[in-house]
Each structure stands twice: as C-alpha cells, then as structure tokens.
C-alpha cells in the first residue's frame, strides 16, 4: 500500500492513502512503514483518523452518503471540528456531491430525447 506521510508523530506516522477512491487517514506504527510503503497486512495496525462520514450520513438518512463522504474528505473536512472551523468547505463539498446527481439526471434526460 502506498501512503503519503503527512507528519511523523513519535512512534507513528500520520499518513493518507486511498481505499478504492476514498481518501483515508490514520496513524501507522513507524516500524511497519518502509519509505512510503506499508505491507497490506500491516495496514490493519493503522488507527483510523477522522469521522466515518458514510456511517455518519447513512445514520442521518442520506442516500448518497459515500459520495458526500468522499467530497468532504477531498475538501479536507475530516472531523466535526473541521466542520465548525470551515463550514464553507462543507458547503462546497455538498454542492460538488449533489452536482454529480444533477449531471447524471441531465445526461439521462438528453439521452432519452426529452430535450
């Protein structure tokens, strides 16, 4: 697994990587990090960082939770405190997530000859 190290924190590195296309951050024990590589088996040792937006939004009844979660993270919104600190980023992420729906609907409409 390729990781991007954000900073070193004593016996850990704080790093970001991707699972499918989802950005993920966590603290990984230094002794399993080799440059910017970590064996897949050792990734279970990472202590996840940030809110699990998917779980969070599904609980709130949001049906496009995975996409919103991805956009939130790509907008650097990782914690509830990030939400309070940067509401504009949340707003942008939500617009981006929902704009995908809008584009899909528009394409469907065009493909069906409705316009």
């Amino acid at each position: 697994m390729n990781i991007s190290i954000i900073r070193r924190d004593n016996d850990f590195v704080f790093a970001e990587w991707h699972e499918d296309d989802m950005p993920v951050r966590g603290h990984i024990p230094l002794n399993v990090v080799n440059g910017d590589e970590v064996l897949d088996a050792a990734m279970s040792l990472a202590i996840p960082y940030g809110i699990d937006w998917t779980f969070y939004l599904e609980g709130a009844g949001c049906h496009i939770s995975e996409r919103v979660a991805m956009c939130l993270r790509k907008a650097n919104v990782w914690t509830l405190q990030d939400v309070i600190r940067n509401p504009a980023a949340v707003d942008g992420a939500l617009k981006q997530a929902y704009s995908l729906d809008f584009q899909v609907i528009m394409k469907l409409a065009k493909d069906s000859g409705g316009i």
């Binding site: 924190d9 040792l45 405190q81 309070i84």
Partner: protein, 500 residues
C-alpha cells in the same frame, strides 16, 4: 468448630522471583517460621500539671513500625533451591488451602502476602557430620524482612438493595477509614458513596438519578436533584475533598447532545444543587465509560471524551483545558488513569492508546498487534511502566511492564469471548476486573498477585446479572460493583473479606 481453625498443613508458600504479575513458583517442601508484624510502639505525650513533678497524658501516637520479619526453612538438596538464587526483593505468599490442591494458587481461603520480601541472611546447617549421632538432613534457613503484610480474607459477595430501576453505570466512594477522635466518630472505609443510574430508554423526560449511601451501601437514597437533562446519563462519577468540610461529587455526561459540547456537573451539597459546566466547544462530545474521569485531587482532574479529546481541570472541575484535541487520534477515548500527576494513559476505540510522562503532553503508543482495530474499554495504571488494558472483544486483557513498548496477553476464565469492562488495582498486588460474556452477563474477578492469576468471586450463575459496568476497590477487603438492571433494579454487588 474444627473447620474454622487453620492448620499449619494447610499453608502453601508461593514466591514470584521476578515480582508481581510474573510466574508464581510453589515452594512445596518449605516451612515458614513465625511472621512478626510490628505495628509501631505507642508513645505517650505528656504535659506538666499544676502540681509539681506531676504530668498528665494529653495524647498518644504510634511510632513508625519496622519491617515484617520471618524465616524460611528448607532442606539442602542436590539441586539448588529457588530461594538460593533470589537476589531481589520478591513477593511471598502464604495461602491457606483447606480444599483442593495446595499447588493451585487460587485455591486460597485466605492469603498472607509478604510484599517486597528481602532475604537478609542465609544459614546452612548440618552440611557435615563427624559421627553417626549428628548425621541428619542438611538444612538451610533464609531470614526475610518484608515491607508489608497484606491480609486477604475469603470474600463474601452479596447483592445490595437499591430502588433504582435503570442500569447503574458508575460507582464511587468518598471517605477513607477513620478512628474515633477529634475529627469525629469512627468511620469504615467506603461508608459514604454514590452510584449513577441510567435513563429509561425512549423516555423524553426521564433523567438520570444519583444515589447516595452513608451506610457502606446497605441503604441508598435518591438525590434531590439531577445532574443532567432528560435522556442524558452519567457515564463517570468521582468525588474528592474540596476542603475539610466539603466533598465535591463530579459527574460526566455520557450521552451526546448535538447542540452542546461535553458537559460535567458538580455538587458540593450531596446533590441538592448542581453546577453544570461546558467542557470545550465541540458540540456532540460526550464521555463513554466509568473511567472517563480520573481525579487525583482537587487540582488534578482529567476527562477523556469522544473524538480523541483529553481535558484537564485544575480547579475542581469548574474550568477545563484541552490537552489533546483529536490531533493525536480522532478515536473515541473511553478511559483515562494516572499514576501520580505525570504518568497517565488514555485508551479508546480501534486500539488507540495515548500516554503522557509530563501530565500534559500526550503521544500515541503502539498497542498489541493482535488487537488491531479492537476497542479498548479500560485502563489501570500501576506505575510509570506497569499498565493494564481491557478490550471490548474476545475478553482480552493485556499488560505492559515497560511503558507500552511490549504488551502481553493475560488469560483468564473468560478469555476468548465477551468484553473486559473494567480493570482496577488497589496496589501492585491487589486488583479486580469485570468481564461480561458474549451474552452480556458479568463475572467479577480479583487478583492478589499482581495479575498472574484471577479468581472469580461472582459469576452469572452465583450472582445473576445482565452485565457489570464499574467497580470500586476500597481496600483488599472491600470492593463494590455496579451493573445493569436485572430483576427489576440496578445491580450493586459488594465483596467483603469474611471476619467473625
């Protein structure tokens, strides 16, 4: 009655050559001499009277006692004896075993722990003889001086009555033992305490109660007012002296409030009036377990919360400062405990372990590899280096003797399933833990040897329950446990060493 008398042949001697929570060795063919436990001479304090050359006793004090002394006798065999290679102060135990094998440690009816036993002299006898009349077994004697003698009696566990119908989430006691004197009447340890109740599920108006006892748990009275709002439970409860006339009770909210940050409440009048305090500014934060609060004294109180936050109060809970802000880990932190004011550990979800050696700067510690991703419920900090943690899955508990560099699994009767809910120690030797099985029913265990072995005092069979949540060790002769509602009321168990 014959079964009330201890016979010398029932005594089993054990030693831990490498200290508490290490391998126990049974010393079969060994004998201990008298154990002398000086408690300190009494010195009378005089004052002169109006009559010449006459004095009256105005007070008395007990002087500093010396160490506990004994001697151990054994044969000289062709192979060396364990005691011959002991170089460091070690724990020795004399267990009284009336039923079962003497070489099974936890078969004790009662136990005498000689803590930090130093060998002060070794004597070899009858190594040679010059004629048949003096021929005998060669023997060796070890003179021993120990720091203290810890007496542990057989425990009697009983369920105490309380009218609370909801789960009981935490239990705490406020007083230490007191002799009759200028400070008041004699008071047993853990006479005055509190237990916190949950709330009725689904009720929009039900508030968590605080119950108080002044009778060592024999009776409980509901507090006049509630610390928190409707639907909000008290996850963690501590009490401490504010001044010589005032005991402060501090409670942490254990339910999220989307519109408000973490909240604590304190009372200085046994729950008549509560002062509510917001902690930090992150809405939705809350405390998750009975060890979310740790109090050393009025000036040193720590609180851990969801989202990886640790706060400290230096004014009895009135104001709080964040020491970590989700920066070290964003995992929920479930328990925090300190040894002194500098050495502390906080543990949480997904195997997150934080430690400080300064009392304020925290860093992540690599936890046991096999427990990656597993939530940690509880922590017990015995010293800078000796720490125990209990997991929410597979009933695992781990310890470290080197400040978290290496962790070791300690098995118990429940290892493999369920959750370790709480671990607490009274000192390096005496500890207690709660394990809830996969069905949620709890077992209550103690150790008297630092954690090498754990003995069940109450099980779901002997004391039916729906889950045990919190424990409080008064001393090695008295422990309280709080648990979920079962049979119509919350469960309080009390274990006391049998006397009489």
């Amino acid at each position: 009655m014959a079964d009330t008398v201890v016979l010398a042949g029932e005594g089993a001697i054990w030693v831990q050559p490498d200290g508490p929570n290490t391998e126990l060795m049974y010393l079969g063919c060994h004998e201990l001499g008298d154990i002398e436990e000086p408690l300190g001479d009494v010195r009378l304090l005089y004052c002169s009277t109006e009559d010449p050359n006459r004095y009256e006793v105005i007070d008395s004090l007990q002087e500093t006692p010396g160490g506990v002394t004994t001697s151990m006798l054994t044969d000289v065999r062709k192979v060396g004896d364990t005691m011959e290679i002991v170089r460091c102060p070690v724990p020795l135990y004399v267990n009284v075993v009336s039923c079962g094998k003497k070489n099974v440690f936890d078969n004790w009816d009662r136990s005498f722990g000689l803590q930090k036993s130093w060998i002060t002299r070794r004597v070899l006898s009858r190594l040679t003889s010059k004629d048949p009349e003096t021929q005998d077994k060669a023997a060796q004697t070890f003179d021993i001086t120990a720091e203290t003698l810890q007496r542990v009696f057989e425990f009697n566990v009983s369920q105490l009555a309380i009218a609370e119908t909801e789960d009981l989430l935490d239990i705490t006691f406020c007083n230490s033992e007191r002799c009759v004197g200028s400070c008041g009447d004699a008071l047993a340890a853990c006479s005055h305490g509190y237990v916190s109740g949950g709330v009725l599920a689904g009720s929009p108006i039900n508030q968590a109660d605080l119950w108080e006892t002044e009778t060592g748990g024999l009776s409980w009275a509901i507090g006049a007012n509630k610390p928190f709002g409707a639907g909000e439970v008290v996850a963690s409860l501590v009490c401490f002296e504010k001044d010589k006339n005032t005991t402060r009770v501090l409670a942490a909210r254990g339910t999220t409030d989307a519109g408000n940050p973490m909240e604590v409440a304190y009372t200085d009048d046994d729950g008549l009036a509560w002062t509510n305090v917001n902690v930090g500014s992150v809405n939705g934060q809350y405390a998750t377990g009975p060890k979310s609060l740790f109090v050393l004294d009025f000036f040193n109180i720590w609180l851990c919360t969801t989202g990886g936050y640790i706060y400290k109060s230096e004014d009895g809970g009135a104001t709080w400062t964040a020491q970590t802000s989700g920066d070290k880990t964003s995992q929920d932190l479930n328990a925090v405990e300190f040894f002194g004011s500098k050495y502390g550990y906080a543990v949480g979800d997904s195997n997150a372990i934080l430690k400080t050696e300064t009392g304020d700067v925290w860093s992540l510690v690599v936890g046991p590899t096999l427990q990656a991703g597993v939530d940690i419920n509880t922590v017990a900090v015995l010293s800078r280096f000796r720490v125990w943690i209990g997991y929410n899955a597979a009933g695992r508990m781990y310890y470290t003797h080197n400040g978290g560099t290496a962790w070791f699994d300690r098995s118990h009767t429940g290892s493999g399933s369920g959750a370790v809910k709480e671990i607490s120690f009274y000192d390096e030797y005496f500890g207690a833990m709660l394990w809830n099985n996969a069905a949620g029913a709890g077992t209550f265990m103690v150790t008297i040897n630092g954690g090498t072995t754990w003995k069940s005092l109450a099980t779901p069979i002997t004391h039916p329950n729906a889950g045990l949540n919190a424990l409080y060790i008064c001393n090695p002769l008295k422990i309280f446990v709080a648990g979920d509602a079962y049979g119509g009321t919350g469960v309080i168990l009390r274990a006391v060493g049998l006397v009489g």
